[in-house]
Structure formats: C-alpha cells, structure tokens
C-alpha cells in the first residue's frame, strides 16, 4: 500500500536555482540515505545526528559520484511529514536534482505522488484537524485529475499500443497458466523457441517506446547540450551568441571558464540546457583539474555534444580524439570563421565523413540559425510533434515500461535456460502488472477469465 512506502521527490520548484532540495520520507529514509550518501572523504555514513547539517557526496547506487550536497535528517515524529525524513540540498538545476532523485529511487524509494508529503503530514497528525477536509479534497482532486489524464490517454495512442503489448503477453501467459492448473487437459505444450521470438519482438517494441520516452523527457525536462573543446576556441562566446546576451566572461587567457556555465534556452519549443565546460586540457592547476574531471563526467551524461574548433588553428590530435571518442556522435562546430582560417569545413568533412560539420561565427552570428536547427534535429529528429505526439512523457510510465522490459528480458533468458514454467509465469505476470500500472488492467482476474474463455477445461 502506498502510505507505507518511503517516498522521494524534488521539493523545490522546477527551473534554475542556486540549490535544490530532495526530500525522502518514510521509515527507510536513513537507510536509503546510507546507500546514496558518503562523507566528503568517501567513507560510508554510519551516524545520523538529528537535525545537524552535514556536508556529503551523493553517489549513484553503483558508486558513481553525482553531486556535493548538504544533508540533514529528521527523526520520526519530528519532521514535516511526521515520518523519518532526509533532506538533501544539492546544486540547483533540474538535471542534477533528478539524478539525485533517481539514485534515491534506485536505492528503494518510490517517486512521490503529487501532494503525498502533505497527505502523510496529515496522516501522521502533523497537520491541524481543520485542514483535514481540504487535504482530502486536494487528494481527491489530484487523483481525479490523474484519472482524467489516464482517460485521455486511454483514448489515445499510448493506451492502444500498451494494450496491444498486454494482449500479446496474455496470449503467451494464458496457455502456460492453464497448463499449470490443468495438467491433465489437452493444452498444447510450451513452444520455447516460438515464444522466445515473440518475447524478443515485444522487447524491441518496449525499447522503441523507451527511446521515445527519452524524447518525451527531453520535451518536458530540457535536453543537456555540452559545448566541448580546447580552451579559447570560443565556446563561451558561442554560448552567449546562442543565448543572445553576454553572460559568460570571455578572455583570451586559456582556462578562464573554470567551472560550468549553464543556461536554458527555448529552441523552437524544446527546452535546451547549454553547458559550457572548463577548457579541456591538461593542467597543473588543481582547481582546474577538478573541473576537467567533471567535464568528462558531464560529457558522458549529455544528450548532445558540440565539439567546438577554432577555424584559425590546425586540428590537434586531442581534438580528433575527442570527436572520435565521444559516445553520441557530436556535432562539429567550426568557430571563428569571420577571421582568417586554416581549417575548413571541407577538410573536416573529409576527415569525419559520418559527422555533421557546421561553420559559425559566434562574433557575427553567421551560421547560428543553421546550428540551432541542427541541434534540434540531433535531439529529437525530424519528428513533427503536432502529427506524431510522443507517447511516453511521464516518468512513471517510463518506469513501468522499463520494469516490463526487464521482466521480459528475464523471460527470454529463462526460456533459453530451460527454466520451468512456473518461474516464466512469475516474470510474465510481473511484466503485465507493470504495464497494468499504465492501463489499469487487473492481471490476475483477467488471467483466469482468459483461461476459461480460451480453453475448455475441467472434468
């Protein structure tokens, strides 16, 4: 039941801010905290003095560094919700906060429903009695709204697609279940290879939906686009040109931009967060070195990389490597084309035939419109959102799809390992239950109904 899970959410409003707050509430709050927080030294945290602000590092459950934060714990009965509550103050910016949140979710928290913290505060007697009716109304209104949204989606494409998936899964599961409960009736044996093929096809469909979900998330929560390149190639100027105003200090001294500068722009309806990185070069300066380290991290997480080159200088080996080794294919941006050039678009295209090369001048604004168009296309393709809306835009749906996919992958593995039918059924059911969270279908009742409508059973 929902009221008993440990929940987590970003508590500060969306948008840019110096800091942002994640709250984790419920009986496992500290336990989850212990999984994702470390001392600045990297040691595990074992003591949780109440209401004392501590400095710590947030890590992903896999042990990857995410952010340096302040955190403090309220014991049960002494927090806003009345439950054990862990508050983490991270660096602002939605992407960063979401990573912290995701890591809490991976460590066992559940994404809170709208109004759920308030609801809990009431349930635990932390709110005044007079507020009771208001809270009930609020919750009702929210679930009704959710219900409306669900209804809208029911009529829509997403539901059709998911229901098709569900039906395919029922078609696989029902004969298995029927045979388990009626071993003496005439039910065809499980054809593992054929079922494996169908499962693989369903996995592909789920993966496609999830790929779309990434676009959906971009639409809702901004894409991160990183400007990378050697120091002094004009990344900051380019960022400013894209922003349309001077925000970043530009100097000819290499390494001026020591940390990140990030700004969000509206690119033809798509929120894009532009991140300027510290100049990527070997440096003895410790502060800058840390910056370089983080740059690599940021680059790895980005939706898109722009590798910025100086048209007035030869291509260096480091730059070549950067282009070739970036995970997603970066856009190659030839900057400073207003000045005398030694490096040409043609030369780059010959060298990197599979890459898109654009020439711009941050100073004059030449090529900026084409660059914006290229960024948009690289992020979301040529999809016309009016005509083909993205189906999966909600994080909860995405989570459900991911869970279904993981379960089906387990089925596929089980089929190939000659796993017994009762275990295959467990994973198939789990996949259906995950999808049922989107469509609201009740799995176990439907299995039994389908068993008896499909098979003539019983003596």
């Amino acid at each position: 039941m929902n009221e008993l899970d440990t929940i987590a959410a970003i508590s500060t409003p969306p948008g840019e801010g110096g800091i942002g707050i994640i709250r984790i509430s419920g009986e496992d709050a500290a336990q989850i905290g212990a999984l994702i927080l470390r001392h600045p030294s990297g040691r595990k945290i074992t003591s949780w003095p109440e209401r004392q602000v501590r400095l710590g590092l947030v890590m992903s459950p896999e042990g990857k560094f995410i952010d340096e934060v302040l955190y403090f714990l309220f014991r049960k009965g002494r927090s806003y919700t009345g439950e054990e509550l862990l508050e983490i103050q991270g660096h602002g910016g939605y992407q960063n906060l979401k990573k912290i949140l995701n890591s809490a979710i991976k460590a066992g928290a559940r994404l809170a429903e709208p109004g759920e913290f308030t609801k809990r505060a009431f349930l635990n007697g932390r709110l005044d009695l007079a507020q009771a009716e208001a809270v009930i109304d609020l919750i009702r209104a929210q679930t009704d709204l959710a219900h409306q949204v669900a209804l809208t989606q029911l009529r829509g494409e997403l539901s059709t697609v998911i229901q098709r998936l569900e039906n395919s899964l029922f078609e696989i599961l029902v004969p298995i279940e029927a045979a388990l409960d009626y071993p003496e009736d005439e039910i065809p044996d499980l054809e593992r290879e054929q079922v494996a093929q169908r499962i693989t096809a369903l996995c592909l469909q789920l993966e496609e939906l999830l790929a779309q979900a990434a676009q959906g998330v971009i639409l809702r929560e901004a894409a991160s686009v990183v400007l990378a390149g050697r120091p002094n190639v004009g990344k900051s100027s380019l960022l400013n040109s894209l922003l349309g105003e001077e925000r970043v200090i530009v100097t000819p001294i290499p390494g001026t931009t020591r940390d990140f500068v990030a700004e969000t722009i509206d690119l033809d309806g798509i929120p894009v967060r532009l991140i300027d990185t510290a100049g990527l070069r070997e440096s003895e300066d410790l502060v800058e070195k840390a910056g370089v380290e983080r740059t690599r991290e940021i680059i790895k997480e980005a939706h898109l990389i722009l590798v910025v080159l100086d048209a007035g200088e030869e291509l260096t080996a480091a730059e070549e490597e950067m282009i070739a080794n970036t995970k997603h294919k970066p856009l190659i941006i030839l900057n400073k084309t207003d000045l005398p050039t030694v490096l040409s678009v043609k030369e780059l295209k010959d060298k990197f035939p599979d890459y898109q090369v654009l020439s711009v001048s941050a100073k004059t604004g030449d090529g900026l419109a084409a660059l914006k168009e290229a960024i948009r296309e690289a992020l979301i393709g040529r999809r016309d959102f009016e005509e083909h809306p993205v189906l999966v835009t909600r994080l909860r749906h995405k989570e459900a799809l991911e869970e279904a996919l993981a379960n089906l992958q387990s089925v596929a593995k089980g089929l190939s390992q000659q796993q017994s039918e009762d275990l295959l059924a467990v994973d198939l059911r789990a996949a259906l239950e995950a999808l049922g969270r989107i469509t609201g279908r009740s799995v176990s009742e439907e299995i039994i109904d389908r068993i008896f409508s499909q098979f003539c059973l019983g003596k």
Partner: protein, 619 residues
C-alpha cells in the same frame, strides 16, 4: 436433561468432519450431526482428491493437523504426481480413492475421538438464546451449543434436475435439508442459488477397455500426509477415451432439453466443473473432449465417467455415451444430474468464517460457495479452529495470502462477489513460488502445534526434519568446489559444467543443470528420505524469486495490519466513490488490505478511509 456441547457441527461431509476433528483436538466437546450415518465423508462427485492448488490445500490442512490428507492416503487406490516438469510451485499429487473405504476410514477415525459425539439427525431450526445456540432436530430432540458450524454442502434446499425431471433432493438421492434453510433465512441470513452437476455412473463390465488408453498410477515415495507412514498400494488404473462429432451432434440436437438451457435452472453454474452440454455449446470448434473412466472403489462395479457431467434426460445420456469408444454397450447405474442449492452470500462472512452478525455461528464448505472436497475441508478446519478460539475468547486464526492457499481462498471468498462456485487454482496465488506443497509443514506446522492440532510426537518429528534441512543448507553454504578437485572433475563428467574458480555448493546448485542428488553423490552424502532434499533444492535454486515474493509479502503485511473497525461507517467518509462506498458497506472488510482487494475500490478510496480513520482516532 440438558444436552450441552461446546460446538455443534451440522453436516458430516468434508468440511464438517474436518471442523469436528479440529474442535475436538482443541479440547472441546463436539456434536457432529449428519442426515445419514451411512454417508459420513461422502463423495458425491469424483472419487478423486488433489490436483494443482487442491493438492496444496490438502498438504496445508495436513500440516495444520487436519485429517483429509491421512484419510486420502489410507483410502487411495491410485496416486499420480502431476506437473513434475513444470516447476516446484505447481507440483501436485492426485489420488483416486475407494469411496467406500474413504468413508469407512473417516467414520472409524471420528468414532475413536472421545470428544466427538457423532449421530444421525436433521436440524430443522437454530435459535440463539443468550450466549448459546439451541439446535432443534426434526425428532423433537434439541441440543445446546456455544458455537455452531453449518457445513451442509449442497443439501440446503437442494433440487436435482435430470432433463425435465426435477425434485427436491440432496446429492445422489439423499434427503435434502429444507426446514433449516427456511429457518436461517427467517433469521436474516441471505442466500443465493448455485448449481453444480455430476456425470452418470456406469457398470464396469459394460465397458470395453480395449478401446481406451490406460492411465496407470505412479509409484511414489510419499503421499499427502506429513505424519502417517506412507503405504503405497498396488495402483488401480483409470482409462481415457474421447467424445467425437457424433457425441456432440446428439448433445446439440437435444440442448433444449437440458435444464440449464431450457431455463429450468436458475442457479449459477461453475466454469470449473462444466457439463458436457456446456462444453459442446461453448467450444463448438473442439472436435473431441476427454473422458476419464475412474473406478468408484475396489469392491464395486460402479465407474465414474469424468468429463461427461450432464443433466440431459437419461435417454439422451445413454444415447450420447454410446457414441464414445469403449462405451458402445454402456449400462447406466445412476444417471448424471444437476443440483441447485443455497449458498451463503459471501459478504456475511468474516475471515474467521463466522457470520458477521451471528456471534458463534460459523459456516464452512460448499455452503460458502466453493466447489471441491479440498476447498470444503480447508474451510472446515478454519471454521473449527475459530469456533474453538471463539469459545476461549481468543482472536480469530487467519492465514495470510502469503502464508497459505487456505489464506488465498478465504480472502477471495470474502472480498469477491462470487458468481459461480469457487475453485482454488495455483494462478490465484500471488506468492505461488513460496506456497509449495513440499514446504507446507515449514509454513504451517508451528501454527498447528500452537493450536494443539499437532501432537507433541508429530511436532518433535517436524523439528527434527527442520533441523536436518538447516544442516543441509549450512553444508551447501559452507562447502566449496575448487577447480581440478576430484569433486569438480566428477561434476564435469556428469554434467559438463566446468568450474573456473572456487565456487560454493550453493552457487553450484543454482546452475540450471545441477540437481541436489548429484551433489550428494559427489560428496558421498546420503540423500534424504521424503521431501527434505526437494525443500533444500527449491530454497536455494529459487532464492532470488523467493526473496522477491518475500518483499511483496512485507508490503502486504503492512496493509493487513491496518484494521478497519467493525462499526466503521462508510457513509460518513467524504470523497469515497459511490461504487466503493456501496461495495465496502456490503463486504465490510476487516483490514485496509482486504478493502483494497475489493473490485471497484481505488487507491484514492483507501486514502480517504485511512484519513478518516486517523482523524477519528485523534483525541
């Protein structure tokens, strides 16, 4: 003379016998009433006990100290292991029994229980006086009891149909119970009508078995009972044959004569025990249906024709059966029939199987809308236990959905609108991998012992078994296979598994191709008797899945711990949806978890209830 019993059980079928036994074992004086002393533990339908889900129920009843398991073992004439290759969760036993031996064994057992007084007598009325119930028999005799368990099966206002013939009757020509139904109804108990049916019984010597496929039994190492030394019998065969298009044509041509289709039957039939006319009508594409010929016993010529349950006129039954290979010259001993009967509307039941508004009055078995001997027996046991706990003023004994199929069944019964007789199925159990038949004692025998249903001697044996299992688990955890060792080489020879590094036996056992007996052989250890190795192997092999179910169960327990007061007024709760308010007011769930399983109740409704409860508990 005042004739007082602590508990009176009305009906000595599978629920009644189990109930009386439980009550007596708990130390209470018990009256067990049957309409006919010849028909104790009578099987009006299949001579068969067990199958997936049902087998699990029997093992659970047995683990708790019930009697259906041992009685089946003693009366079996064939035993089969089902689903042996489909995974540990669904492995099951099915027994063919000698019906008469089954009854005799049960009667003799109950006759030996000093606290049980078993007699023939028809109860025509129940009356509540102060803290006692008074039972009136049609002969004018009356009894007093502090608690009463109604286990009347299909007898309440039973009505048999064969074609256009219909008459009030219990199953197989027995006396129905009419007055009691009127009396209970007058006291406000609500009934609905259900329907079930049975095929014809035919004479053995009129069957040509050479046209059928023999279904021999299996030689098994154990039966149902955890406690009784297993004594396998020389198995008697069953026989398989099939209907064909000619059979179906005759049935189709005469469908209008079947009471279910002519409108004579108003009761609701079950998908789980379909009649052959139902199968032919609902699955026109099927070219044939299976027919199993099962002996009713060793000392009778009657054979049961499983798969051909029917209420068509006898002449038509005769005609269509003769189209089935082997039945060309069949002689009917008793025709098939359908029976309609009263069942208690489920919303009146508490989890203890007590009727909500009648303190001390319980009901169990088919009267609660189930089908099957095993389902009935399980309810009898629970009603018996809870009648005992009612007498001693203790809280009801309730098994969770995560603990037992018994828990799944009773929870389903009291939270779902039942439209047909209920049958247990493994697909109803969310915790199917944890609820295996081979670990029933590990799940439940502690309860059985605490409830005094398990004897000291049985419990001692159970503890020893548990210790042996622990020992084996520890051995597998603490011992390793190192590459190039003699043991590793043996393993590779036998299975082709080539270990690259030092691996614990537990890890080795998790590999799909490795079975426990092989490891014991490699390590020169003795395999265990009975099911101990199976338990050990399943606990290790399916550890990941079992942990997943355990996690789910923890969530379940939290919601089950939130009790809803019996007097809770749903009409006072704002923001409940109309459907939820109606359903909740009707079913009156005892916990928040139960409320959530009632169809039409949403998470938002649960929140509203929770808030309301919290609010009203605050000072």
């Amino acid at each position: 003379m005042r004739k007082y019993f602590d508990v009176a059980v009305i009906g000595a079928g599978h629920a009644g016998c189990e109930a009386a036994n439980a009550v007596a074992k708990m130390g209470f004086k018990t009256l067990l009433l049957t309409l006919n002393y010849n028909n104790i533990a009578f099987m009006p339908c299949n001579p068969s006990i067990g199958g997936p889900g049902k087998s699990h129920l029997i093992r659970e009843i047995d683990a708790l100290g019930g009697i259906i398991g041992r009685n089946t073992d003693l009366a079996h004439i064939q035993m089969r292991a089902l689903n042996t290759k489909k995974g540990p969760a669904v492995r099951a036993l099915r027994a063919q029994t000698d019906k008469h031996l089954y009854q005799e064994t049960m009667r003799k057992y109950l006759e030996k229980q000093p606290l049980i007084m078993m007699r023939q007598g028809e109860v025509t009325a129940l009356q509540r006086t102060k803290d006692l119930w008074r039972l009136f028999l049609n002969t004018g005799v009356s009894y007093e009891a502090a608690a009463v368990i109604i286990a009347t099966g299909t007898f309440l206002r039973g009505k048999v149909h064969i074609g256009s013939l219909s008459y009030t009757s219990g199953p197989q020509g027995q006396h129905p119970s009419l007055a009691l139904a009127e009396n209970l109804e007058a006291q406000g108990i609500k009934f609905k009508r259900f329907k079930t049916g049975s095929p014809a019984r035919v004479r053995k010597r009129s069957i040509d078995f050479s046209k059928m496929i023999e279904q021999p039994g299996d030689r098994l190492a154990h039966g149902f009972s955890h406690w009784l030394p297993w004594q396998p019998r020389a198995p008697v065969s069953c026989w398989l044959t099939y209907t064909n298009e000619r059979t179906h044509q005759i049935i189709r041509d005469n469908l209008h004569l079947a009471p279910l289709y002519s409108g004579a039957i108003t009761g609701i039939g079950t998908r789980y025990c379909p009649s052959i006319e139902g199968k032919v009508a609902d699955f026109p594409q099927r070219e044939r249906h299976q027919v199993f010929i099962e002996p009713e016993g060793l000392n009778t010529d009657e054979m049961y024709v499983a798969g051909l349950s029917t209420s068509l006129p006898e002449a038509i039954q005769d005609e269509f059966m003769r189209t089935v290979p082997g039945l060309e010259n069949v002689e009917i001993v008793r025709p098939g029939y359908a029976i309609e009967y009263d069942v208690v509307s489920p919303e009146q039941l508490l989890r203890s199987l007590q009727l909500r508004d009648c303190p001390g009055l319980f009901s169990a078995g088919q009267i609660n809308g189930t089908s099957g001997y095993e389902e009935a027996a399980a309810q009898g046991l629970i009603a018996g236990i809870n009648a005992g706990r009612y007498l001693s003023g203790e809280e009801a004994f309730v098994l969770g959905r995560n603990e037992a199929y018994i828990g799944v069944m009773i929870d389903d019964l009291i939270t779902k609108e039942n439209y047909e007789p209920y049958r247990i199925m493994t697909s109803r159990a969310e915790y199917r991998l944890s609820l295996r038949q081979e670990n029933a004692d590990l799940r439940l025998t502690d309860y059985g012992y605490k409830l005094k249903l398990i004897t000291e001697q049985e419990y001692e044996a159970f503890l020893q078994k548990k210790a042996r299992i622990q020992e084996k688990l520890a051995f597998l955890q603490e011992n390793y296979l190192t590459p190039d060792s003699r043991e590793a080489q043996l393993l590779q020879e036998e299975t082709g598994v080539n270990l690259q590094q030092k691996t614990s036996l537990q890890q080795v056992l998790k590999m799909p191709e490795i079975k426990l007996p092989l490891l014991w052989r490699i390590f020169n250890k003795e395999a265990s008797p009975g099911e101990e190795d199976e338990v050990v192997e399943n606990m290790i092999k399916y550890q990941g899945y079992l942990e997943r179910e355990e996690k789910m169960a923890q969530r379940l327990l939290k919601t089950e711990a939130k009790k809803i007061p019996a007097t809770f007024d749903y009409t006072a709760v704002p923001n409940l949806s109309a459907e939820a308010r109606e359903k909740l007011s009707k079913f009156r769930p005892e916990t928040l978890g139960q409320a959530g399983r009632i169809s039409g109740v949403s998470p938002a409704d649960l929140t509203a209830i929770l808030i309301w409860m919290t609010r009203n508990n605050q000072p």
